[in-house]
Symmetry: C3
Subunit: 382 residues, 3 copies
């Protein structure tokens, strides 16, 4: 899997168990081809005459996941899906999750769905520890559905976030997908929050998109994170779902004001995914002590192209600020693919730095451990 | 021309005739050095003491076009231009267009100029079929010059677009260059359109830059495209002309709202050029079923650097959504250079994927056919 | 230092003395580890448990500067700093500046600090000529502190800029860091300038951040530059200091309107640093005759990753518009590292173009001289 010619110490560091600091839950039910394509294709069907297997992630599934299911690399889509069905979802998921070589999954519990593998089960099947990242918009949604009044909603929000955070290792927000990251950085005024809560309760079944509601939610999450010493994950970069905010509104640079406002709180922040703005994210991680970065889901989405994304992050981001996260989502394949892409991409970047005489092998091995697991253990206090 | 070591099937696929789905017309008259430099240099003279041959495209002309005119690679500019003059424009154009190895040129008839090769002639000289892409701003300009009143203008616009589209395989718009892509996505109100038409007719010789006029034009084009089953090409990315909209206003991500509004119409969209925002364009092509992408003119403009641009597009864009277009413009050299850069760049990307074990040779050959011609045949119903 | 396999003429061109057309002054006093880390880390301490040596620039210091101080490559940080202290700052600075292989330093005198090496001293220690670039915000600051009234301030500004420019080879502005590049391009009205001057004098010790004040300063600088035939350097791209403008506001594309307004003045402009927007900057350099570009500080900040940054600039920027500047700042190591990164990166880019048959060796050598020193000699009339 790794490039040839790497020193043994670097190979060992790259193959050591990872901490996957951000993954979404994956489906545990049997999937039809149409369902499977939707899950690897960002939620929209491929146009007539085409298939989502003709994408970077589709090719990567056939290359790297087929062998895990006892097939030769590059097995055709139909063969792959038939074998997956033959093994059954439980066996396929278990094999793929274990193949990822992960010591701990930090699972974002953003979507409630009985067809999704719960975090603990994901750990069990993957032979790994599992911890929870609380998606604040999910908590907000639960509170909004139950609240009888704006006051009820606001009180419930703070209480429920604190309660859920008690069992978690971090919080996450998808405000960037729902609204964009171009929101006002300041904590909203009490008056505006109460007014927004009233509007919010008029349609509690929808996800929150009002910027005042989202800002209040974010700042409440910051309060909880600070009290509990938890980091806050911020989804950034172009969301794979066509309903998400337009790409240019998800540039993490738009968060600069919020990151500055947050700095005194001492809450570590991790910018997730970030593609194609990962260079901007790297800059923020270099400029602000509390800011960290991953390229998450881009590892899987870009497939054979992931090496450049990882290499571009290495251009500027401090090595103690980069984390591995698979950004796994939908199908267990993505957990494996994220880990494969990360190890191969970092291996290629390190090999080049060694061959060019830019780095020592000792540094290369050390950085591989840091990014693969050490930084996450420090930031999440695992 | 292609990288060594590619499997025969992949070589054959890369060398197969291309469909150049977007080219502008090229000059057919004899050109002085000053004229030639203007045409390869974006329309502005090089500063004193410098030459536009000291650019990526200038070096590429000497490298890849000199042999087509029987000169050694890297011939000096003066030698190249002398040989070109010696052969005469007609012979040079014919050689260069045929060297491109193109089965069909889809020619954007955006500029009316007797010194430009008409589409049919471009096909004849290039040994290829030729079809027309109707530039909607050109139609608008013709209508505006003839219209006696706002009502006349609006009626004429719809009629003339429909009439011109009847003989074409697609429509194109340069609204992104004239105004920027940061326009309101919605179809403008009838009242605002009539008011804008009045303003427009006060100065019909200028290109349209008013956003209401442009939005009305775009939506009228969408109506025509839907009725006739034609795709719509949208120029995006930094235009080479210094008078074009500022680069940050040409990011195709700014089109997200318009693309969403357009989706129900079932009109295929192709984002053209896109550099340096091709990663954003790739994301849009991945997220929306009707959106396609090329890097067009960037193939020629970036010369030896085109491989990275093509490779970055491959990071995220579905393989059934990428099209080859030379973005050819001004001189016939650019048609050849676009084809050379495309074949070399895609060859390099595929070779790397094969050597890294990421792709199979069968997939590589198939994708080369898709991007080189198959996708265009499907989208344009050729 | 250079890649193997380059033709001798190209090696010679790459190793020829450079003109470093933009460097900040470096510290001449002895530095503690904490001070040193701050200087290579953008002015903020590394978080507990981490070190700024775990960054691209930190690794590059150990790799490329350690041998200059007689240490093996990759010496540990503590060993490196101990050796630096043992030699003394003067000896270390002299060695590092000479190692850069620079014929002339153009020193931006933006910060007044007795601990900084004056420009002339930087030249003497580096065995090079030294010329001054006047930082217009520094002049403005001096004038604001002395002015008794708005009229006094405005008159003093023009006079002092002209006086300082008399001994300099260029002017520079950090308006992009202080405010962002998204300012109104037009010269501000006399009335608004007088009003802004009044506000400005209320707090003259702070740097100017008001856009009217900055625009007036810029246009006054343009007047002076035009009169004296001097170029104007514009800092662009993400500033390394956490207090600088948010990255998305430093995209040089935002300057398009200002660059157009400036064109009739005939003042050459150089866009500095530009990362991660260097492709946009390359476009501007291609589209406007008076616009030039470097990647400056990004050479040092991105360390082993600098080759891609340089290569991306080569995608579009005319070769007669690219300049070498180390963007050196804080410690003398950065002058050496900038030169090393430039030579290695350009060497790699040229080697690839030669191996791919894209360029001739004669062109490669010529472009290396142009970018390394020739263009600067032409633009600055050295």
């Amino acid at each position: 899997m790794l490039p040839l010619g790497l020193p043994d110490t670097v190979r060992e560091a790259l193959l050591a168990p990872l901490v996957d600091h951000h993954c979404d839950a994956v489906r545990r039910d049997e999937l039809s081809r149409a369902q499977y394509e939707l899950l690897i294709g960002g939620g929209v069907p491929a146009p007539p005459g085409t298939t989502h297997f003709d994408t970077p992630v589709g090719v990567a599934v056939r290359r790297w996941c087929a062998p895990v299911l006892d097939l030769p690399p590059h097995a055709p889509p139909a063969v792959y899906l038939a074998r997956r069905a033959e093994l059954g979802a439980a066996e396929a998921n278990g094999r793929l999750l274990r193949a990822a070589g992960v010591a701990a999954f930090l699972v974002d519990t953003g979507t409630e769905d009985d067809d999704l593998l719960p975090a603990a089960e994901m750990g069990r099947q993957g032979g790994a520890a599992a911890d929870e990242i609380v998606r604040v918009e999910q908590v907000e949604h639960d509170v909004a559905e139950m609240a009888a009044s704006a006051a009820d909603y606001l009180e419930g929000l703070a209480e429920e976030l604190a309660a859920r955070a008690a069992g978690a290792v971090g919080l996450s927000t998808v405000a960037g997908h729902l609204h964009g990251l171009d929101f006002d950085a300041a904590r909203p005024s009490r008056g505006s929050v109460i007014a927004a809560a009233g509007r919010r309760l008029a349609d509690p079944k929808e996800p929150p998109v009002d910027p005042v509601t989202l800002r209040h939610l974010l700042w409440t999450a910051v309060d909880v994170a600070r009290e509990r010493g938890l980091p806050l994950q911020l989804h950034a970069g172009a969301g794979p779902d066509a309903g998400h905010a337009a790409p240019h509104r998800t540039d993490p640079a738009l968060l600069t004001g919020f990151l500055r406002a947050l700095q005194p709180a001492g809450v570590p922040v991790i910018l997730l995914h970030c593609y194609p703005f990962h260079r901007q994210a790297a800059h923020l991680a270099a400029a602000y002590p509390h800011v960290h970065v991953d390229v998450g889901r881009a590892l899987t989405r870009t497939g054979a192209g992931a090496w450049r994304v990882v290499d571009e992050l290495l251009e500027l981001a401090p090595f103690h600020k980069q984390l591995f996260g698979s950004g796994c989502s939908g199908v267990a394949e993505t957990a494996h693919l994220g880990a494969v892409a990360f190890r191969r991409a970092l291996g290629r970047a390190l090999k080049e730095r060694l061959e060019e005489g830019e780095w020592s092998a000792a540094d290369a091995a050390r950085v591989a451990y840091m990014v693969g697991s050490g930084n996450a253990r420090r930031v999440y206090r695992l």
